[in-house]
Amino acid sequence: MSDTASPGPAHATAPAPAPAPAAAHPPINLVIDGQAVTVPAGTNVLEAAKLVGTDISAFCYHPGLKVVAQCRQCLVTIEKNPKLQPSCQQTCGEGMVVHTKDAASTLARQQMLEFTLVNHPVDCPICDKAGECTLQKLYFENDNADSRIDTDKVHKAKAVDLGPTIVLDQERCILCSRCIRVCDEVAGQHQLEFSQRGDHEVLGTAPGAQLDNAYSLNTVDVCPVGALTSKDFRFTMRAWELDATPSVCNGCATGCNIEIQHKNGRAWRLVPRHNADVNEYWMCDEGRLTYHDLREERLAGATVDGLPSGWDRALKVASERIISALALAPTSVGVVLSAAHSNEDNFALAKLAKAWGAQVFVAVRPLVPARADGKLRVADVNPNAGGVMAIALALGLQTKPAHELADASVKVVVMLGDLLPNLGAAATSKLKELELIAIAAHERGPVAGARVALPAAAWAETSGTVTNAKGHVQRMHPAFPPPGQALAGWEAVVRLAQATGVKLVWAHARDVFKDMTAAVPAWSQLTWVREARPLALRFAGSRG
């Protein structure tokens, strides 16, 4: 519970974690390019070089995967060592003197790069990886010369359908085996393999088999070239056109740290962001595709009885219903908190419920036990169930599950989100008699039949925090503005409060957060960081 609400530096690629030093091993001192550096025992030379600002780009090395040292793109000179050493595999030793910019190792890396490019098709104009390609980056930085090969390139299969999510271009593949290791180590399923030999060696699946696992799209992230491309993202946008905003996946209670990569007011893909405590470098395919929901069935304006109306009229109708019900009995108003909305939205609505003296319910999506795999995917598909409970507890509210709504003696229901669990036919018909006032991002389910629906921003469109299953309170930053007249959920609650004569005054999500952390003891140490400005990937270098 000691986490901050900030997801670390908003943009910086998270530094690769050095292997945890055993207590018995003291830190190692070595010299890299004339600079002394001290690293924990077990760190490899490549990671140590990053500490002195030298990026020895490599194809096969990935900080989250096993070291295989097969691309030879990270060769360095180590004094008293007769041969060049792959810096990814070489662990740092006491008193080691490493040269990364000397003539021998620079030439060796140039030659390796030229060798890698011998059969590469260089079809960058149609390659999705262009702009974030490690091969492209290394070529521009180190080689930048015409090919010396005047024989034809070895041609291999293009646009190979590998499975439901991935297309493979065998020509572009530089045989680094990162994708094979992702399948083996992250997904735990050996579905990719090399076959043939020499310059005819190709990546592929076993005959008739498919690359089909819950983490398959991570292979696209780690691919240093454009050999593996995502069917979902393929040919939609160029990498350099996108802006990246840090956020947290709202697909389940794991809360994987992600980057929303967006352009023109919509998300085009979600990619994982490193967080050693939550998701390392990875996220699941299902979470990766949740961005599509940001554009489906959205509620862009306030509605009354299903017909468009302005905010003013909707608030007037809603407040009339609520005030008359409150006058009858405060408990005839039911408030439904949502485990799919942020802490701020729920805190605002919980405060309002407390001021009204209303009954409080919590809407939670049912568990999906089949999802749990002991890795990143868990059965709880609510991004913020823990946060809602913590808030209700801190405010001293008695909460009931939302399915008890039909039995309770409520006349007016103020609901956050679009989720009411399956209540059964009798209860559903009773629900129809209720005056339902929904604050939701999507016009579906109960929201479609609501008396009043107030449009709220979705998770990618507003500042807020969510609490994952481990209790980490993680910050989401707004990537683009919400559609139409939609406001942040807490802001809609504030308007509703003011319309019913309750004094709730917050001007910014930060203010809600401050009041919330003051109210919830476990979150008292959390701090709010400034909203992250989108990072233009045009200037961000390679990824993968």
Binding site: L107, Q110, Q111, E114, V122, D123, C124, P125, I126, A130, D143, A145, D146, S147, R148, D150, K158, A159, R234, F235, T236, R238, W240, E241, R538
Partner: protein, 236 residues
């Protein structure tokens, strides 16, 4: 203030040296108020007769030359010092537009066109380099997957707003596939509606020609380049 005073003093000095109009009197109370002699043109100049007839003479000279030059024989032209071959037309200043048009320089940047492959398909692979580099943001491309496995990607929509285009030619420079050119020599046409100024994939392909350019250009191979020029030529 001191600067102004300085300039005034300078003017006074110029007046004193007789560099300006003749000063008839100077006000005692404020010396900057002066009466000067105004020089007006005389009746000969004021009528503009001289200048008009001079200009008319130039016009008549050109008229006579342009009128009689085509009628004169080669020998006669040679005698008059005029070009004897067809170049005499260059001597005539007037262009008979629209029957006759000035030929533009080779590098004139006209309306865009999209070049074609041998099978008539568009060469563009929707790499998005031109909308990226375009400073006027006038290019809109929506890519799609094509059936051809060799090319894979093509534009579903390719639009250029010729009203926004500043004809800088950066799109042509940026294109890695020789897919877009501005060598049509055509102007953007006048339109009644702004939307008519948007060039589409179809209109630009209709203007297109086939291109067989290789990606990256067909330059010399490394064996043809001078020895020692190649940064990697360490085995030579």
């Amino acid at each position: 203030m001191s600067n102004v005073d300085h300039d005034d003093n300078h003017d006074d000095a110029a007046f004193a040296a007789g560099g300006g109009p003749r000063v008839l009197s100077v006000s005692v109370a404020s010396p900057r108020v002066r009466t000067i002699q105004v020089v007006r043109p005389g009746p000969a100049d004021a009528s503009y007769l001289n200048a008009t007839s001079k200009g008319l003479a130039v016009t008549l000279k050109h008229f006579a030359r342009n009128f009689f030059l085509p009628l004169r024989s080669k020998e006669s032209r040679a005698k008059a010092g005029a070009p004897v071959d067809e170049k005499w037309k260059n001597e005539i200043e007037t262009v008979q537009y629209p029957e006759e048009k000035v030929t533009y320089p080779e590098r004139f940047r006209g309306l865009h066109r999209l070049t074609l492959r041998d099978d008539g398909a568009v060469r563009c692979v929707a790499c998005m380099c031109c909308p990226t580099v375009c400073p006027a943001h006038c290019i809109t491309i929506v890519p799609e997957e094509s059936d051809s496995k060799g090319v894979e990607k093509r534009p579903a929509i390719f639009e250029i707003d010729e009203l926004r285009c500043i004809a800088c030619g950066l799109c042509v420079e940026a294109c890695p596939c020789d897919a877009i050119r501005m060598d049509t020599g055509e102007h953007a046409k006048p339109v009644e509606d702004r939307s008519d100024a948007i060039e589409t994939l179809q209109t630009m392909m209709a203007r297109g020609v086939k291109s067989i350019a290789k990606q990256g250009g067909a330059g010399p191979t490394w064996r043809e380049t001078a020895p020692g020029k190649h940064p990697h030529d360490f085995n030579r």
